[in-house]
């Protein structure tokens, strides 16, 4: 039973106040995009054993979406941050680098 801190209302609450929304920082591909791009956007999830950037909604709270960086093996939460961004903020990446040397994700590390 996870605890998460909602960066939008600042509350730290248990999982039951939240709703998971899957992989974060996925680029939307619309009409005109290639078959592979569209397929990648809709279906190909990273599903890593390790650091995962994911979306959550505080649905039994302020109702806002936010992002979390979480380890899928230990369930450690490295941090939560605004959903209005296209890549994880530097401080979160630094924190992960400190705790998981050599980790990598897409172009970030």
């Amino acid at each position: 039973m996870l605890i998460l801190t909602c960066p939008c209302c600042g509350v730290t609450a248990e999982e039951t106040e939240f709703h998971g929304g899957g992989e974060a920082h996925v680029t939307r591909f619309g009409p005109g995009s290639s078959e592979d791009d569209f397929h990648g956007y809709l279906f190909e999830k990273v599903n890593p054993k390790g650091v995962h950037f994911e979306r959550w909604r505080h649905n039994n709270g302020c109702g806002k979406w936010f992002h979390a960086a979480r380890c899928t093996v230990t369930l450690e939460v490295f941090g939560t941050y605004s959903a209005q961004t296209t890549e994880p903020p530097q401080d979160i990446k630094d924190k992960i680098s400190a705790k998981r040397p050599g980790w990598s994700w897409r172009e970030f590390a």
Binding site: C8, A13, N60, G61
Partner: protein, 191 residues
């Protein structure tokens, strides 16, 4: 004009705390830039209360402003005053990007009173919220889950607590609170 009625028409229950449907309140949803002077002024004029801080509620007895999210407030006023306030807010905020909606009839409000520790216990049976004095108290506004429905809590005073939920589940919420306050089920924790 027909008489407006709340979901449970003032029903009440006496357990180790008293649970009562507080009847109708005027409620207005305001979405906009809460930091803007326009919103601050409009809210002040409408309710006499300032824009509350994050997860806080401002105002007093029947005139509250609750922080719902970074861009949303819930104004709680007298039921009959709501239409006028709604109009005033619209006027005051015209020009800025905002949303104002009269939602006075969309919700039910319950008041828990009596034992100051008892009402904390009753809520702690239903909501995953730390109800310890110091962790939660007057001035705070907490949106959360009450058993299987979304709800929000605030404490006008140390010995009273308000629960707000959607109107359609008022029955369910009332039954939950009755069970939580049932005589003999005291936990004796916050005393």
């Amino acid at each position: 004009m027909s008489e407006a009625v709340s979901a449970l028409k003032g029903a009440s229950f006496d357990g180790f705390v008293t649970v009562k449907d507080t009847g109708l309140h005027g409620m207005i949803t305001l979405r906009g830039d809460l930091a803007s002077d326009a919103v601050k002024a409009a809210v002040q004029d409408a309710t006499g209360a300032p824009v509350p801080g994050q997860r806080e509620v401002s105002g007093a007895d029947g005139n509250w402003v609750a922080w719902m999210s970074p861009d949303e407030l819930l104004l709680i006023v007298a039921y009959d005053a709501a239409p006028q306030i709604e109009a005033d807010l619209r006027k005051a905020l015209s020009g800025s990007h905002h949303l104002v909606a009269n939602v006075s009839d969309a919700r039910a409000v319950f008041r828990l009173s009596g034992s100051a520790t008892g009402l904390r216990e009753a809520i702690a049976k239903l909501c995953p919220v730390d109800m310890t004095p110091g962790a939660f108290g007057p001035g705070q506004f907490r949106r959360t889950r009450m058993a299987q429905i979304p709800a929000a809590l605030w404490m006008p005073t140390d010995d009273s607590l308000h629960v707000i939920c959607f109107r359609s589940v008022a029955d369910y919420a009332f039954n939950l609170l009755k069970g939580a306050a049932a005589p003999g089920s005291e936990v004796g924790l916050f005393s």
